[in-house]
Symmetry: C2
Subunit: 520 residues, 2 copies
């Protein structure tokens, strides 16, 4: 590629700002190709004005108004969080629903990966024993026993990749009858059904907790493990308070015995060739910067369209980072029912934030701002690009399972860990995570491909980043090229042929449940 | 002791119910000493009526009304959650404040323990390097590095007991400007000052998070660790995104180097003889049963009074389990200001629950009910007994530090893990935890003495329970005897002479922050 070095990026013809690409930023007095002279130094990722902007005039990026100027900004000036007024969020009552015809997208055929096919028809990308927990009280015990299982049992079951304790902070000391309690409860239940756990549900409970373990397996027969010679080999629930356990040592032996039965069945599983339509990919971004919407997220959007064309499933999420771009999404819903469901999720979150006397100005974070994002509108416009151009065929609430192939909006908070947890519950078998500022994010249940939005980070975090999208900003690669690269990487990772950085290092976050109800 | 075998316990002269002590319960037709005949089988811990109770009549336990009968219950009948109507919570507007004179309590002198005295005057019961974290994003990295520190550094510093990563789920993706955000933020800051961390504050942050690491050390000079030859030996903040780190390996080396400086200083610390007045004990109960208020909690209350008489500090907590007994506590406040502060905490929580459409009927848990607790009133009456008879000298909000010697009400949710986390933030150096149903609770930061309320549990969980208060129900020991036994055990554990069960097994819960504000 022999393109000239890119120094600023203007995304849309109507934009009156552009983003500084140069590592280290551009100094005052720098003259750009078109004669534009910088009136102040502008850091990398930050916005330079392409024309004089008067107080009250619109600042336009991605072809959309991200706010109005609070002071005059001359051509060549610096736009940041101090001189942009946050506009109102788009009203929700008269948005166009399902008005944009789906772009013609040729089916993509012949792409496959090597996955673990499950009894329920889903396909895993790993073969992991997930130990579900009904209550935080058992977390210490589960940590203890998982360590023992890894050391003493796992070596005997070479086809099982890992054992993971699904610890969390819910289950007791919570308002279990509050309306919003449905969210954490269905999340826990659905996580146990994630394709990477191979339909082997194993729940450890305490006994006296509010969230009774049987609730978590209610779709299948509850089989209680008791510490007897005739323990049920199909047992799926064990309570530490069960009177058959004479102390801690006994509990541990019981859990080990129960786990062994599950591991025996899981060890018989083998990868088989599956069509790319069995992919269920969660898209997420965290620690964003102004490049997110120019490099990594557009490449993710391109890959999203490829997966959808291949018949697969993609989720995008993060309500608070979608809210300000909602007018771009409702036209893309497949029908009015889906459109209304999308709006309902926005309304729910508006009320939830209002109830806590919070508003959307709490986003972006200080690091987002240092990375050049002036406000949540600009962040949202860059975030929704992950969804590509496909029609939105479904909307699911937090903790619900995905229901359709194609592009689904899975409503979640933007918090990386809560979003990841809810996408796990929805049934993703792989996650793509883009970051501009950098975060050592990882999940033990499904592989996470981490993409940097700028090469400064991609190079500095050489051992943490799986794919650098910064090459798009410098002109070294196109969005399409990186989108295809990501698509192929997804197939390799899903097949177990390529190990992601977080798995290589063993960097894994805990689950974080979304509990909008009170604790007690 | 040659007392007759106790089969039922009546706590107060005015009670019209008593608790079945017998392991396995009592069968229908059982005749008690006074000729009372059981009309139905009654499980252990459950209530038998001592007289005929008509529909609408009061059911009285601890000399207090726990509810009214929803149906006639004959003498010898079974009172449980199905035939007791929950009364309204006591009104908060006209409670008597500071009306009960403090009982005359002779000072208790001459009791000491071997503790670690800190620069700020507080005294630790362990010598632990606590690694504070500003955001959940660093949790995986901190887990990784703590494991390395334990293996590679800790053996060289034999006077340091442990290294603990203070991971949590706060810091970003949260409404940091919401009014209630003050709670999790001050909690994190104050935990880093817990006496067991020896005033060695070391914060690992990411860099772009909303909760900036400097906020957590704002009382002392912020000294940033940079990965250079001349790294500040006094550094107390390290951010993973710092540009001096070239990737993950570099970050880990940086954290190890920073930890080493802290460990060198901590290794010079030695235990010294300290008066019992330096104890700061958190009292808590979890997995309660009907014995809690008859055995373990009264013994805890007795020990509370001993510690207060020795000049020490005791906290009791758990707003939702205090709310229904508030009329017993406001008279005990030291003055009207403290009384009003106590009521304000109740009012705050009433509003908080109402905001989530939850109410107090969500407590007790199913296990509490199986253990004989009919409703939250009965649970509360048994819970507040932990506070003994001393005057309440202060009330602190969730996440605040304790300010006075004597008995403090530290307002927290009743959730075991949140209460424990907030008592850590308040500055406890030891916790006492009573349980009837059994929970393998433990903290890595301070020792937790676990007491069983009944000997069935005490015997079955022989390797998890530190002290069995069930001996009170059977008449083998008096409340006073067990209170003194607990007091001596507290001094032994605080001195490092006695290791509690949770520490012996390495059973430790994660921190759980109380965040009443929304996530974003």
């Amino acid at each position: 590629m022999s393109q000239p070095r890119t120094r600023v990026i203007k995304v849309h013809a109507n934009d009156n700002v552009a983003i500084v690409v140069e590592q280290g930023g551009l100094g005052e007095g720098t003259v750009l190709d078109d004669g534009l002279v910088l009136t102040v130094p502008i850091p990398q990722g930050h916005k330079v004005t392409l024309e004089d902007i008067a107080t009250g005039e619109d600042i336009v990026r991605y072809g959309e108004v991200i706010g109005t100027a609070t002071a005059p900004i001359p051509r060549g000036g610096h736009v940041n969080e101090t001189n942009v007024r946050l506009p109102r969020a788009p009203a929700l009552h008269d948005l166009p629903l399902a008005t944009r015809p789906a772009p013609s997208a040729e089916p993509l055929e012949g792409y496959t990966f090597e996955g673990f096919r499950n009894p329920d028809g889903s396909v895993g990308t790993k073969n992991v024993l997930g130990i579900t927990t009904s209550v935080q009280c058992v977390a210490g015990t589960v940590d203890y026993v998982v360590s023992r299982i890894k050391q003493e049992l796992l070596p005997r079951f070479p086809n099982v990749d890992d054992v993971v304790g699904l610890n969390h902070t819910y289950g007791c000391g919570v308002a279990i009858n509050a309306p919003a309690a449905i969210v954490p409860i269905r999340t826990l239940k659905n996580i146990s059904l994630n394709p990477n756990f191979g339909n082997e549900v194993m729940v450890i409970g305490l006994g006296c907790e509010k969230l009774q373990p049987s609730t978590l397996v209610e779709d299948r027969p509850v089989k209680i493990y008791e510490n007897t010679e005739a323990a049920d080999p199909e047992a799926n629930v064990l309570s530490l308070q069960d009177e058959s356990f004479q102390g801690f040592g006994d509990m541990i032996e019981g859990i080990m015995a129960m786990a062994e039965r599950h591991l025996e069945r899981m060890n018989r599983r083998r990868r088989e060739t599956c069509p790319a339509s069995e992919l269920v990919v969660g898209m997420q971004c965290g620690g964003s910067d102004a490049f997110s919407g120019v490099t990594a997220n557009p490449a993710v959007g391109f890959a999203t369209d490829l997966i959808v064309r291949a018949g697969g499933s993609v989720m995008f999420s993060e309500v608070t980072e979608v809210r300000d771009a909602i007018h771009l999404l409702t036209p893309r819903t497949a029908d009015e029912t889906v459109g209304r469901a999308l709006i309902e999720q926005m309304e729910w979150y508006d009320r939830y934030l209002e109830g806590g006397q919070a508003d959307r100005s709490a986003n972006p974070s200080p690091g987002n701002k240092r990375g050049g994002l002036s406000n949540v509108v600009e962040k949202a416009l860059g975030s929704v690009i992950k969804s590509g151009t496909s029609p939105i065929v479904d909307v699911i609430g937090p903790g619900e399972r995905i229901r359709r192939k194609g592009l689904t909006f899975a409503a979640t908070p933007a918090s990386d860990f809560i979003c990841g947890t809810l996408q796990l519950a929805a049934g993703m078998n792989l996650q793509v995570f883009t970051t501009g500022r950098g975060t050592p994010y990882g999940l033990s249940m499904v592989p996470v491909i981490k993409m940097s939005t700028n090469s400064t980070l991609g190079q500095r975090w050489h051992d943490l980043i799986d794919l650098d999208a910064g090459r798009i900003a410098t002109g070294e690669a196109s969005i399409e090229e990186l989108g295809w690269e990501l698509f192929h990487l997804i197939l390799d990772v899903a097949s177990g042929r390529h190990q992601v950085a977080a798995d290589r290092l063993g960097l894994h976050n805990d689950l974080v449940l979304f509990n909008p109800a009170p604790v007690t």
